[in-house]
Amino acid sequence: MQIKDIVQEKKQQNIQILKEYLESFKNRSRAESNLLTILHKVQELFGYLDKEAIEEVATIIQVPLSHIWGVATFYHYFKLKKPGKHIISVCLGTACYIKGADEIVAKLKEELKTDLGGVSEDGLFSFEEARCLGACSLAPVVMIDDKIYGNLTPQMIPQIIKEYKRKHKE
């Protein structure tokens, strides 16, 4: 409960910072040409394109939300969803690839019910790819936050995911 309040407070602070930042864009014509710069700022502040923040942007620079959404989804570097509490990076480096990383990806997709680059339905995991995590001898490799899991087989995945979910329920 308390943590929630802190998170909320932090968010409101960021919204305030964003509003001040947007002040200088308010009366510029061709607001749309500044959109990318602004979206980068939102991502920097919130870690992703937070909806409330984007609504602020739309209102202040007077650009329709749908238009912002079109731009935001066009570029790969914008995160559209709030990152998960844990970051799962699956290594797609050469060594891991040869040892069957694609099967690991397929299994993770199934478990997390999201594609690479997405966030699991429960909001717990971000699912990302990585290039050589420097643990080739353990290939195939997955890193969750800063912990390395090596010599994986697809069968091992559900157990690992379950472990994180369990920790969260406690």
């Binding site: 014509s29 061709r30 607001a31 749309e32 909806k51 984007i54 609504e55 739309a58 209102t59 620079i61 007077q62 650009v63 329709p64 939300l65 749908s66 238009h67 912002i68 959404w69 079109g70 989804t73 066009f74």
Partner: protein, 591 residues
């Protein structure tokens, strides 16, 4: 007039005007180049490349909708290479499309079908991965099925350039490109006004109205219900088109007959509701003119406009007339006055409305409009849905024996009929307000200043030496323009009529699809439909709402006076700001 230039089309020499696109010039010469993303009322996107032609000296085929014609140009429209290239383009669309025609709402009236046929596509070549999406059935009015979308972008442009709603855009990229709302939120939670213009312009079934025909067919067989239906002025002005009649022929009595054959017990006229609206609205205006309430007063009968206003201009709520729409007023009278008259429990009445409009489906579900806890209108179907029901039930509409409206809610004045076209509500309100105010009949009742298809029309009348300025706008984009003027000059107008769709209700989102030889939003067709309504008005002996004897009786027997307490309870409503808040861009790209 523009300079004449000489061009060659398939080796034939022609003189054409300079300063137009190849497509425009060829259209006039009688060469109809196939097209998809192009629409004359919308900006040119030049994206689909279905409209390519060959131009001598150019390395690639050019998109004729976007490329200007020039002197001495040699154009080929039908070479084997060109035909193959066009066919490939359409084939790619078809290969990425569900083969659902026989179970699809657009079957028999689909531009993709027509294109595919015209291109001579006989088989599917590249049967690869096809895009997969969920349907969005969240809205009670507008359904979206992205699997059927061919990314022509016409909906995106109509929603922003004509309607000024900006609800849709292309999102993502490459194979994943899709037309969607901001944050992919369901239509029901978006700023969508429910106007249905995206349905009108969509070449396929990617946008559709929420269909209530099955439910209605079932209820029509329920012996425990009294089935009552009303239909809007614009329905009669357009339904014939769905049966192959030319545009502009009123099919009022045929529609009544068909509804009776479908099983309705009573067929009433939304034009009666329109007369009632005028009684309340004209009196409300005169009250405001006396200083009781805010001016300018803005009309409130267009459902899409109401939602738009609550989201985009909530600060103007006080300017909006509190009158319910004709549909909702008549619905309220059906569930009260009429129920009392025939001594039936209003819960036993099924109140149906046939509307030219998809937004009326949304309006009927507004909780503010409940009458003693009951819906004033239980089911709304569009002109299109009714045409389908008539066909599906095997009713021979073309040769049907005409029938008359039922009493007492089927009698209307000419003022009620013209409600369906832009300017009609204002014209009718003026006819009545003038006479109430001055005590004398208005001599010139056809007010030509505010007729016609111009987007914004201004006019003025004298009320006992006082000049009353009025303005009429149709299409939500034009509404925005007028509201921006009012924000700057609040004194400029006294009375404002706004209709959400281009042309007014006659151009509503529920009207018959454009056929093979016409285009959606065609102004000529809109004008013919309007003319059908003006024709009804001219033929009526009673042309002013306040002279309608059935309306007089309704006030005498039931409501008392206009704006009475009872009238307020049953015929007036209120509005409130809505989330998400709509945003009109600073640099408006309205057309």
């Amino acid at each position: 007039m523009a300079r004449l230039i000489t061009v060659y089309v398939n080796n034939k020499q022609y003189q054409v005007e300079d300063g137009q696109t190849i497509m425009q010039a060829l259209d006039k010469l009688g060469y109809h180049i196939p097209r998809l993303c192009y629409h004359p009322k919308l900006s040119i996107e030049g994206a689909c490349r279905v409209c390519i032609v060959e131009v001598d000296g150019m390395r690639n085929f050019v998109a004729s909708c976007a490329y200007p014609i020039s002197d001495a140009m040699k154009i080929s429209t039908n070479t084997p290479e060109l035909r193959r290239a066009r066919r490939d383009i359409v084939e790619l669309l078809v290969d990425n499309h569900p083969m659902d025609c026989h179970i699809c709402d657009r079957n028999d009236n689909c531009e993709l079908q027509r294109l595919s046929y015209a291109m001579g596509i006989k088989q599917r070549h590249f049967v690869g991965e096809r895009k997969r999406y969920q349907k969005d059935v969240s809205s009670v009015a507008v359904i979206r099925d992205p699997e059927k979308c061919v990314l022509c972008g016409r909906c995106v442009r109509v929603c922003s350039e004509i309607q000024g709603v900006f609800n849709l855009s292309y999102a993502y990229r490459g194979f994943k490109t899709v037309v969607t709302t901001a944050f992919d939120i369901p239509i029901a939670e978006s700023v969508c006004s429910s106007c249905g213009q995206c349905i009108n312009v969509c070449p396929t079934a990617a946008f559709l109205e929420k269909n209530y025909t099955q439910e209605l067919f079932e209820k029509l067989c329920d012996p425990g219900l009294i089935k009552v239906v009303q239909f809007a002025p614009s329905v009669r002005a357009a339904i014939g088109e769905a049966f192959g009649f030319p545009a502009g022929i009123s099919k009022e009595k045929e529609t009544i007959a068909a509804l009776k054959k479908l099983g309705f017990d009573y067929v009433f006229d939304t034009q009666f509701g329109a007369d009632l609206t005028i009684m309340e609205e004209a009196n409300e205006f005169l009250e405001r003119l006396k200083g009781n309430g805010k001016l300018p007063m803005i009309t409130s009968c267009s459902a899409a406009w109401m939602k738009f206003m609550e989201q985009f201009y909530p600060d103007m709520i006080e300017n909006i007339s509190t009158c319910k729409s004709p549909m909702s007023m008549l619905g309220a009278m059906i569930k009260t006055y009429f129920a009392e008259k025939i001594k039936v429990d209003p819960e036993k009445i099924l109140s149906v409305a046939v509307m030219c409009c998809t937004a009326k489906k949304y309006e009927a579900k507004r909780p503010e409009l409940l009458v003693n806890g009951l819906s004033a209108v239980d089911i709304v179907i569009t002109t299109r849905e009714l045409a389908w029901m008539i066909k599906s039930a095997g009713i021979d509409f073309v040769n049907i024996q005409p029938e008359e409206f039922d009493n007492p809610l089927g009698i209307s004045s000419g003022g009620g009929a013209i409600f369906g076209t832009t300017g009609g509500v204002m014209e009718s309100a003026i006819r009545t307000a003038y006479e109430i105010y001055t005590g004398e009949p208005l001599m010139e009742i056809e007010i030509s200043q505010i007729r016609g298809m111009q987007g914004i029309k201004e006019g003025s009348i004298e009320l006992d030496g006082k000049k009353i300025n009025v303005v009429v706008a149709h299409g939500l984009g034009n509404a925005s323009k007028v509201l921006e003027i009012i924000k700057k000059e609040p004194q400029k107008y006294h009375f404002v009529e706004i209709m959400g769709c281009p042309g007014g209700c006659i151009g509503g989102g529920g009207q018959p699809y454009a056929g093979a030889n016409s285009i959606p939003l065609d102004e000529n067709i809109l004008m013919k439909r309007a003319e059908a309504l003006y024709g009804i008005d001219r033929k009526k002996t009673i042309r002013r709402a306040h002279n309608n004897p059935a309306i007089r009786r309704l006030y005498k027997e039931f409501l008392g006076k206009p704006l009475s307490e009872k009238a307020h309870k049953l015929l007036h409503t209120h509005y409130s700001p809505k989330y998400p808040k709509g945003i009109i861009p600073k640099e408006m790209t309205l057309r």
